[in-house]
Amino acid sequence: MIRRNLKRLLRIATLALCGVLPPVQALEIGEAAPALVAMQPDGRALALASLRGQVVYVDFWASWCAPCLQAMPALDALQRRYGARGFAVIGVNVDTERKAALRMLERVGVGFAIVLDPQGRWPEAFGLSAMPSGYLLDRAGVVRFVKAGYMAKDLPQIEAAVLTLLGDDGDAKTMAPRAATGGAAP
């Protein structure tokens, strides 16, 4: 009798759990970024490892994500400002439709490197919890800062993290008030 009840319980538990996939393992601060490669819009491959030696902000974006549209010009401005000091932004597009991604790129017109990942390998490897998300990697490729979501007031926080990794935290006030409307300093 007990055995039969146990079997019934097992069956119910299986039915209840069958639709639930295990959660994606999120990349934590202090962990090394995975070795990933993806195609750029022009067809050339770009490996994340090739940016080793620079402070890299990996920005996940999609054409259907409104805050991404807001984040991209701000990140582009950050790269223009700190690129010469060894800071690079890489935009990882997760659209399944290439055309939609290219349309948004034309609209936003950013200068940083873009890779297209319609299969979602990069976000899966990073364990994304929200769109957009940004991961700041140090020169050794280790995650030092994670930003889930984006609002204009987040920019000073991102900039401060970049400057810390670039080895200078006395310059953070210079850009933040201009780009982040109404944002508080971190």
Binding site: R11, C18, V24, W64, D95
Partner: protein, 71 residues
């Protein structure tokens, strides 16, 4: 025979399951305009007005209440 069913049922449930976890980066289709309950705000506002006029109760789908006109 019964033992086979014990194995087959959970296996079938697993394979035939329609449930799936949609990850944040997979929400492109869900973000489409046609996936919204009310894709057109103007039409939605018109519908609310028709409901209000017919039912003599405002709030539409967002408020509870009958057609007494007292809320």
């Amino acid at each position: 025979m019964q033992r086979r069913w014990h194995l087959a049922l959970p296996l079938a449930a697993l394979l035939l399951s329609a449930c799936a976890t949609v990850q944040p980066w997979q929400r492109g289709d869900l973000a489409r305009n046609e996936m919204a309950f009310e894709p057109d705000p103007l039409l939605a506002s018109y519908r609310r007005h028709v409901e209000f006029s017919k039912e003599a109760a405002s709030g539409g789908a967002t408020l509870s209440g009958g057609g007494c006109g007292c809320n």
